[in-house]
Each structure stands twice: as C-alpha cells, then as structure tokens.
C-alpha cells in the first residue's frame, strides 16, 4: 500500500513537472515575440496570433505585423522545435554511449552536418541553384551520419568515456576548420550569410523551414517515444536488455539513425548549437528525479525548448541591436551544467 501511495505521489510530481515546463515554454514564447528592438505590445501579439498573420487586427501596424509574423514567430517556433530536438538528440546519444557528457555537439555530429551543408550550399549557390529546406536536411543528414560513423568506429577502439569525447571534439574541430575554409574563400554574397549560420543562429528562419523541421522532428520524436520501452532496458546494460528480449542491433541502429537525424535537422537550420544536448537531459533528470524514458523523452523535448527559447531571447536582446551567436549563450548556461555533472560523478564514485 505504501508502494501504491508512492507511485501516486510520483505521478503527481511528474504532472507538476510537465506543467511547469509547458508553462515555461508558453511564457518564453510570448517573451520572444514581445521583446525586441521594435516594441510590440502584448495586445498586438495576441491580435496577430489570434486572427492569423494575414488578417491581423487593425491596431497592429503593418511593420509590427511583419516583424511578428515574418521574423519573430518563425524564429521562436524554430527555437522551440529545434531546442526540443537538441534535448532529445542529447538524451539519445547519452543513452547510446552510456556516457553522461555525450551530445551532438561534443561528438562532432553537428560539425559533420555543418560541413556537408556548407559544401552543398557553396557548390550549389555557386552554380546559381537555390537549396530547399529538404535539400539542407538531406545534406546535413549525410554529414551527421558520416561523423556518427566515425564516432562509432572510434568508440570501438578507445576505452573510457573521456577518450570518446576527445575523439568527438577532434572530429568537430576538423569539420569546423574545413567549413571555415570553405566559407572564407567563398565570395558570393549569399554565402556571406553562411558565416552567421556556421556559428549557430536561429535568425533568418522562414515558415517553409519551420514546416519542414516540424515534420521531421515530429516524426523522429514520435519514433523515439515508441522506443521508450527498449531504451529503458538498454539503459541498464546491454546483456540485460538482450536477456529480456530486446533486439539490440535494431535498437542501436534506430538510436543512431534518430539521434543523427535530429542533430542534422538542427544543424541544417540553425547551425551548430553547443551544450544544449548535453545539459538538458541532466537538468530534466534533476527536475523529475528519474531516468525513466517515458518521462525523460517528453521531458527532454520540453526542456530543450525552454533552454533554447531562453537562450535565443538573450542572444537577441542582450546587446541589441547586435546579436550574439546562439552557442555563445548556450555555452554560458550549458557548460557549468556539464562541469557539475563531472564533479558529481566523481564524488559518487568516491
């Protein structure tokens, strides 16, 4: 009976946790729309949202409407969707490698995606061809899979989580260096935009981008949620997972594909965003006091959204009108989390 009551308490506290995260998402969404170099009263935001951009209220001026509907709205949506994807990708990678400091950025997966996207854009833009959102995702996926493949090879050769991370960081450096070369020597005006993107930014997102990323992220996230049960078994250890009937090969394959896909999607639209993937799963674990996938998966998504919406808000407004790159802000908040994790692990092992 004590057990039953504990279970109920747990469920209640989970609900509270999710409610808080969802509330944070909504509040930050409103802030992201309302705060910026052009003042936009709440009334206008609501009017603009309520009736849809094209039929915005008479009170809202055209400029405000354009800013809200064309710039801030898609940008906020991107932070929400891609932030969630980042949180989830980090969670999947940490689970896959049994490594608490894994993430798409430190493992070089984001940088791999960045490199292929840059190459494709420079090449195609040079020949005067515009790259669609799907094309960007395809290019990013190719790079993400390549980098992931490299990390997988390294993970068989090196022992210890620290060495794996070091290999990932090295891959990241190599890819970034090549990307910088490509971007520096590409003179085309369009490619100048690449420079911002290659440092990581949610700016310049269009509704078409949002639609594509929403589709990809929704499908991937749903797939992850359906894998919650085998992921839970896998977390405790591989031989135990097999013994309860998990198809290890298929699960590992799915984890690799989904985490690379999510990482690729983020990089295709926002460039490499650091530390969100590592930090969010730990913060979410702290909130819910559990590592159960059924809680962690939606938790990491919402947590990632909150983290990115918050950081993008700061990136835009802190030194407005100058924008910071998103990674500058995420690093400030994410890196300490990673340090805390490392310190705590050491202490736990005594």
């Amino acid at each position: 009976m004590r057990k039953q009551r504990q279970e109920n308490n747990k469920i209640t506290s989970d609900i509270i946790g999710f409610t808080l995260l969802a509330a944070a998402v909504i509040i930050l969404l409103v802030c992201n729309l309302g705060i910026g170099s052009v003042r936009t009263p709440i009334r206008d935001i609501l009017g603009s949202m309520g009736r849809g951009g094209a039929y915005a209220g008479a009170q809202a001026s055209d400029t405000v409407r354009t800013i809200l509907w064309r710039i801030r709205m898609p940008r906020a949506m991107a932070a929400l969707i891609l932030g969630g994807a980042l949180g989830l990708a980090g969670y999947l990678l940490q689970t896959f490698f049994h490594n608490p400091i894994a993430g798409p950025f430190v493992l070089g997966i984001s940088s791999g995606a960045k490199l292929t996207v840059a190459l494709v854009m420079v090449f195609l833009l040079g020949s005067g061809i515009r790259v669609s959102s799907w094309g960007m995702i395809a290019a990013a996926s190719a790079g993400a899979f390549l980098a992931m493949g490299f990390v997988l090879v390294m993970s068989r050769r090196v022992s210890g989580m620290a060495m794996l991370i070091v290999s990932g960081v090295m891959i990241g450096y190599i890819c970034s260096a090549v990307t910088d070369l490509v971007v520096t020597f590409a003179q085309d005006a369009d490619i100048v935009n690449l420079h911002d993107w290659s440092k990581g930014s949610f700016s310049g997102i269009t509704w078409e981008n949002v639609a594509v990323m929403a589709a990809v992220v929704a499908v991937s996230s749903a797939a992850v949620l359906l894998l919650a049960k085998p992921i839970g078994a896998y977390q405790t250890g591989e031989s135990y997972a097999v013994s309860v009937g998990v198809d290890l090969r298929r699960l590992r394959m799915a984890l690799v594909l989904l985490s690379s896909m999510l990482a690729a999607c983020i990089t295709a639209f926002a460039g490499p965003v650091s530390f969100v993937g590592i930090a969010v799963p730990h913060l979410v674990k702290k909130i819910f006091r559990t590592s159960k996938p059924l809680v962690m998966i939606p938790g990491c998504f919402l947590g990632g959204s909150v983290f990115c919406l918050f950081c993008d808000l700061l990136a835009r407004t802190l030194f407005a009108p100058t924008e910071l790159s998103i990674s500058t802000v995420t690093a400030v908040f994410g890196a300490p989390v990673v340090l805390a994790v490392i310190r705590n692990r050491k202490r736990e092992r005594g």
Binding site: K3, Q6, H98, L226, A228, K229, G232, A233, Q235, T236, G237, E238, S239, Y240, V242, S243, V244, G245, V246, D247, K285, R289, T290, S291, K292, L294, E348
Partner: protein, 369 residues
C-alpha cells in the same frame, strides 16, 4: 526416456566464428543445477553467453523443452530464460525496485508500463531473494552482495524456467556467497527451474551442483555429477595447479610445500598437527610427520605439506614397520615438535614413538606457539 528439459548438442561457441569450445553436449533437467568450472579464460562465460543467445552459435544447437532456442521468438525465450551476468549495470536515479521491475519487460505492453499484478510479482521476487528491504534504495548505493540479490530478483521477475548465472558470487564476502547460493538452492527447489552457472568457488560448486561441466584450456573435459569430478586429483590437473594443492575431499587448499630433506619431525594426529604444518610451511621449513591414519584430520594437510608422511590405512593396526620408519625420520631431523601426548590403545606405536623421542635427546618443542 523423456529427453532432458535443457540440452545442448555439439555446441561450438566462440567469437568471430572462431570456436573457443567445441562439441559441448550437456543435459540439465528441471530443478537441477549445472555448474561450469575451469580455469580463467577457458570459455565459461562464452558458453553462457552462447546459450543465452547473446553470442551467435558457431554450430550445434540449444534445446529447451524439446525445441531449439533458435526457433523461439525473443519474447518467448525471454519468458523462459533469464540471466545474472557480470556485465556492468548502469543506472541513474533508479531504485532497486525499478531495477528488479525491468525483468517484467517480456510481459508488459508497448510502453512497458507495469500493471498492479506485475508489481505484485516484482515485490514477490524481491521477497524471495531477501531484497525486499532494499526496495527504495538507490541501486548505485548498495553493496555488491545486495546488488546480486536485486539482480537475481530481476531475473526471477521474468519467471524463467532456466536461469544462467556467470560467477554470481565472485566479488562477495563469505557471508554473502553462502547467502546467495543458499537462496538460489531454495529457489530451485521451490520453482523447479534449471540453473546453469559458472563458479570459481570449487568447494561450493562441489556442494551445490547436481552436475558439473569441466572446461579446461582445451575445451570441454568432463561432465558428470560432482562425486565423479572431485576426485583423484583431477581438479588440480584441470586448473593446471603447479604450486600448492587442492584437496578435493574437503575443498581446502594448501600452499606450496617446502622442499629439501626434513629438518623437523612432527608427532601429530587427530587434527593436532595441522596448524603446526602450516606454520612450518610459512617458515619454509621442510618437515616429516607421522604416524597418521589416512583418514586422520591431519592426513590431507600432511600429504600436501610434509616431505615425508608415515601413514597407514584406517582399520589396520599400527605395526613395527611404521614405527621403524618414523624412528628413522626422527633420527634424521634435528628437532621434534610434539603436538600431542595422549594416545589411544589402537595407536600404541605412536606412544612408543613419543617415548623414543623423549629419550633421543633431540630438541623438543610443543605444537602450540
């Protein structure tokens, strides 16, 4: 005759298509415990992993209840076979109850949510392995012995008909070793499940097993009941023991005996000499001892540690031959240790030997230090 519940036929197991073991053919019935013994690296874990389906079989087959395990679905196999292996378990913020509940996996639905009935089963399994009081404890903050109990409970949650364990008590202290194996024995009796486990604790393997499979460096060597395995110095040969010795009758070990001509004669018997033998071994002193019946408590350590033992089979009466041999040894030694001074009527010769020693003028000391 009905075939055994569990069988392997000409099993070859190994990594990357290179067999470490070949031609493993064993039978285990319901309610039986099969123990794998053998030196490190011989392939005990490899065999267990292959049986569990965690390593592909190179050739041969594993049969469960008249069917090949390779024809069973993952779910069916996981409802019939459970493991307690040595692989590291990673948990974070998981209680022991959560870990054990993981064993209900083959019985839960799409999202793995446990029903009330499932929780009852988990609770029951934790009670059976005496881990119920650990329910709310963090799995990372319990002792090795407690951890094994929780992992055993987890395996029981699968309600298996056969349980595989790889060195389940290796890192436990003697209390937990005994506790774990006793629990296992009790569970086997209650549930009639079959058990296959590897053990490095030979004494315990000898006592708990219904059958023993010996895996030497060349593969499978012997398979049979423990009384056929633990005899005639076979264990020493199986492990390639070169220094020291293993006494299969008692399951005890002795370190390597001192070499050379005996310097000390030990008058012992009835268990009075064992500690002296070991003390002499520690000091590196070669010694002789007697006169012992071969069924004497002192005889196995004497046999293992003394360079010469004057002995005779139980049931015979001590005669002049033994006395003469012993006197000769006393003469050859510079010192005598007398561990006992009272002798029964059937060992008149030991009394005579004692008197001979007293008269000999040798340096005499008592057995106790």
């Amino acid at each position: 005759m009905e075939p055994c519940f569990f069988q392997t036929r000409q099993l070859a197991a190994g990594y990357h298509n290179e067999p470490v073991l070949r031609d493993i053919t064993v039978d285990v019935d319901r309610g039986e415990i099969l123990t794998l013994i053998g030196p490190n690296g011989a392939g005990k874990s490899t065999l267990l992993k292959s049986i569990a389906g965690q390593l592909p079989l190179i050739s041969g087959s594993v049969w469960l209840d008249g069917r090949k395990t390779s024809d069973m679905s993952r779910q069916e196999l996981s409802r019939r076979m459970a493991v307690v292996f040595t692989d590291k378990t990673y948990t974070e913020l998981m209680t022991c109850g959560d870990v054990a509940a993981g064993g209900r996996y083959p019985y839960t639905g799409r999202f793995g949510v446990l029903s009330k009935q499932d929780w009852e089963i988990v609770r029951g399994a934790m009670e059976k392995t005496r881990a119920a009081d650990l329910w709310d404890r963090d799995f990372n903050r319990i002792s090795d012995g407690q951890r094994q109990r929780v992992l055993l409970a987890r395996a029981l949650c699968q309600q298996p008909e056969i349980l595989l364990l790889d060195e389940p008590v290796s890192y436990l202290d003697i209390r937990y070793k005994l506790e774990f194996l006793s629990t296992l024995q009790r569970l086997v009796k209650e549930t009639r499940m079959s058990v296959i486990m590897s053990l490095h604790e030979l004494d315990m393997a000898q006592r708990i097993s219904d059958k023993v499979l010996c895996i030497g460096n060349g593969g499978m060597e012997r398979f049979g009941p423990p009384e056929e395995i633990f005899r005639d110095g076979y264990i020493g040969r199986l492990f390639g023991v070169e220094s020291g010795s293993y006494d299969e009758g008692n399951g005890t070990t002795e370190l390597e005996a001192a070499q050379g001509a005996p310097q000390v004669f030990v008058l012992a018997g009835g268990g009075s000499g064992r500690d002296t033998y070991r003390r002499l071994q520690r000091n590196g002193t070669a010694f002789a001892t007697g006169i012992l019946y071969t069924h004497d408590l002192d005889y196995p350590p004497a046999k293992a540690l003394a360079c010469e033992v004057v002995s005779l089979p139980g049931g015979e009466s001590m005669g002049e031959a033994q006395l003469k041999a012993a006197k000769k040894l006393v003469d050859a030694c510079g010192e005598v240790i007398v561990c006992r001074e009272t002798f029964g009527p059937w060992e008149q010769m030991n009394r005579e030997l004692w008197e001979y020693i007293l008269k000999s003028g040798k340096r005499i000391s008592g057995g106790k230090k």
